[in-house]
Symmetry: C2
């Protein structure tokens, strides 16, 4: 009895908790795991004599995937990219990088060293994202392990423990202890749906005891898993006092602590060595001469010959004719681009909303977190910055770059601030987690994705699904006149992942291929 799972269930749960900092915990927890460990790359019919032309709008991961695969299959491809760089929301900031946030352009002034970078967009590669991994392998992009959950990192919340940061392991150990006690109680008192044999019950009680580190009476009285209060490996030790569940309940971080190792953010995760923009630039290396940067699309016209795209380059109007068009331009920009797509299609495009998201980062003069025993992973706080991420690379080097703020979908208090105010807010809130923060961090950068040039939004937000939303999704996913496709993570059930962008490209390519094969067969 498999039950169907749609993005609706996912979004229902989000809706149920929206407006709280728990949203990320929930989305992580619900991270969807694809059924196949095989990449979905379609086996495109290789074109020989009869060349076909494709124009691809946008050099993000989806557009690059289409161009790379079509180029290999013998298509004549042109990629038009509005900005000065490839990758879209796969964006790595390092010394000299321009962050082209509208109204807040910045150049990054960090030291020019390979480990001093910041993935301002896509940061984590789950091992279940077989298409991303497929291309990393094929394009020679080196990968290394990424750490998401770190039990040594901090939980800081003004609503618990007097605002004092405590280790993730203290929170998780004590919550598990409480949970295990509850389970033991149910085994004793509960009216179980199906009774267990003595043997089974014994195994379950053993599991529960192991889960929570309960004592022989199935009581939780604290655990060394939370760390020692004193002592070490050669002298006797005392454990930390246990923390009562009541004293922990008022932090939203709890949900993250108990679910962040599940689903898509669960172990294990990877990152590209040197920065995740190595992935889009892996594609770019293969098709560099097919990409026109700073080419701003002004018109998309479907016509008898195929598709004609007009674009501005250096103040001049240019035009390109192609048989096919693959469009990853954020759908909300298509309002302002002249086009002759069907009225219903145009209407449907307006349905897709874009999320907001702000990330900030500092270069740290010293890797102060390592002195606190933190190597990679995330600290959580109820402050506006929400998270501090420590790098999983460059261990024990002098300097490091940390993510100092990651706010998403919550009114975006940072948006109206000046850059100086954003940085001051990142520092002063970070000081609640690391009291000596200010002396270490320097050269802050921030990036508000909903104000980034050629973006004006983070990932697409499909809302609580309805039959009408199903119709819209299907309409936008289908080709128009067999020659125009919407691509990008915006047309996936699981936005904001590179994997989704690639799968959207493969979906469109497979559709195209069926048409081309049918044409060839009937010719």
């Amino acid at each position: 009895m498999s039950k169907p799972v749609t993005r609706r269930e996912f979004l229902n749960l989000i809706a149920a908790t929206s407006g709280t900092a728990a949203v990320l915990g929930i989305t992580s927890a619900l991270g969807m795991i694809p059924s196949s460990t095989q990449a979905s790359v379609p086996d495109l019919l290789k074109l020989s004599s009869q060349r076909k032309k494709a124009v691809i709008l946008g050099a993000g991961i989806a557009g690059l995937t289409v161009a790379y695969e079509l180029d290999k299959a013998g298509y004549d491809c042109t990629v038009l990219e509005a900005s000065h760089r490839a990758g879209g929301r796969v964006f790595t900031v390092r010394a000299g990088t321009l962050i082209d946030e509208i109204g807040n352009p910045q150049y990054c002034e960090w030291d020019d060293e390979p480990h001093l970078y910041f993935n301002a967009g896509a940061a984590r590669i789950p091992s279940t994202h077989s298409n991303v991994l497929h291309y990393c392998k094929e394009l020679g992009v080196d990968l290394e392990m990424f750490i998401n959950e770190n039990k040594a990192a901090w939980i800081q919340d003004d609503n618990i423990m007097g605002g004092k940061p405590i280790r993730n392991r203290e929170v998780s150990t004590n919550v598990r202890g409480f949970m295990a006690e509850l389970m033991a109680k149910a085994m004793k008192d509960g009216d179980l749906d199906q009774p267990f044999s003595d043997d089974e019950a014994g195994i379950i009680l053993g599991l529960i005891r192991t889960f929570g580190d309960l004592d022989a009476n199935m009581k939780y009285t604290g655990s060394t898993r939370a760390g020692y209060a004193s002592g070490d490996y050669v002298t006797h030790t005392t454990q930390h006092e246990m923390i009562k569940i009541r004293d922990l309940l008022q932090t939203n971080a709890l949900r993250g602590v108990i679910s962040d190792n599940e689903g898509e953010t669960g172990p294990m995760l990877m990152q590209a060595v040197g920065g995740n923009d190595r992935i889009p630039y892996g594609f770019v290396r293969q098709i560099e001469d097919k990409i026109k940067f700073r080419a701003l699309v002004t018109s998309v016209e479907l016509n008898d010959k195929g598709v004609t795209v007009e674009y501005d380059y250096d103040g001049q109007r240019h035009s390109i004719d192609a048989d096919y068009c693959f469009n990853s331009i954020p759908s909300h920009f298509m309002n302002g681009i002249k086009h002759n797509l069907p009225a219903q299609y145009a209407q449907d495009m307006k349905y897709i909303r874009r999320g907001t998201a702000m990330k900030g980062a500092f270069q740290a003069k010293e890797r102060f977190w390592e002195k606190e025993g933190i190597y990679g992973g995330i600290s959580w706080t109820n402050q506006g910055i929400r998270q501090i991420w420590y790098p999983a690379h460059g261990i024990h080097k002098q300097k490091g770059v940390i993510l100092a703020a990651y706010d998403y979908g919550n009114g975006m208090p940072f948006t109206r601030m000046t850059q100086e105010q954003r940085i001051e807010m990142m520092i002063s809130q970070g000081e609640k987690v690391h009291p000596d923060y200010r002396q270490y961090v320097e050269k802050g950068i921030t990036i508000a994705w909903h104000r980034m040039n050629h973006m004006l939004g983070c990932s697409a937000r499909w809302r609580v699904s309805t039959p009408e939303e199903e119709r819209i999704f299907a309409n936008l996913q289908a080709p128009v006149e067999g020659k125009y496709w919407c691509i990008g993570d915006q047309i996936s059930h699981h936005t904001a992942w590179m994997e989704s962008a690639i799968q959207s490209a493969h979906f469109a390519l497979a559709e195209l291929d069926r048409r081309v094969r049918a044409e060839v067969a009937s010719a």
Copy 2:
């Protein structure tokens, strides 16, 4: 109300589960976390004119730590090491390595590439092991992330699911679902010790729901966290059928699945880039001229001048006089070495038993596990090989080295086998986890620590503690006549970790330093 925690509690629990494959799960779960993130390196008084001589027996981590620190403080050090290499049970096997197991010597014949190595001894560095990390930094040993828990890896047990391997994430998701249902039941029916307010109960129910991915009726009906049965990110999906807890209970792997991310093996962990023997050899680089390899100690005599150690080198008897002696020779060898240690001390040394442990590894022609979506981490089986570890490094390269067996303390069925039989057993048991295993793996090596030359045992085993055991530990930890110390993880509350060996060295050094300072003050 802190409760004291000793190794006794730890060992009681082990005793309670001994003879089952759950032992590792338990020891992991109970992994002790030190209270301090600061290394314990003692600040030794620097000797100037008045040189003192120290002889250190054994060039494992403990002996190297003592020699390195004393050398820095101006002591005249000699390290006598019986074998041809440093590191003891910190041993990395790569092309050309001699595995000097008695009765089964092997040279490793893997390809000579930096990523093709195997940590046959110490493999994992927890971020809480501040002394190991301190020396890695000081000695310039590069570190990278290590993956222990991988939800994509396999659980295979002949007693569940008809012996078919299932993903760790399927097991953990379904167990969590069951556990969450139990908790919800206790919240509804249980006679809770302390009632919660409606607000608190609501938060707890939300947590429980998140923990187990329960439906709105607080029932577990399966979860996408266990993966899709079909579909992907652009087409509709169905989830896997849920697995009933009853169908999972008969595997010992369950305990590992629910506790392996706690305590010492919890996130995050590290390894030395290129092999963990980079750590002992980091010390060796600093004190290379102080170490005599192939120097077999034959006599230790405490006398009026200090300590005289006799040793064999190249068939010749040699002798060295020193003021102090630090001895990391496995205590069970001291029976066969002439010495004049006090009778009670000699008797106490015999109390320490050594564990057994066997590891095996293959070079794989292809990284077949990556095709299955596995990058690092551990698969568990109820076969004798128990575990398969996949490398966290060398991602997407052609070949890789995997741990193919890790058996410890369970009668050691491998010991009586020939090397060919061991390898065949590793292959045939591995085929239950990876059906096409045999075609990929080659050039197997095995290492039985209880038969390794100059070892004849894995880590020391302190048994269930008694007042008598406390006395023995204290007696062996204290110096003899103020000039002889037992060192090594054998004299720690938490054997089998590099951190313990280092802390034992620091403990002895701090003791020595107090004596030297007192001498200087009274001179």
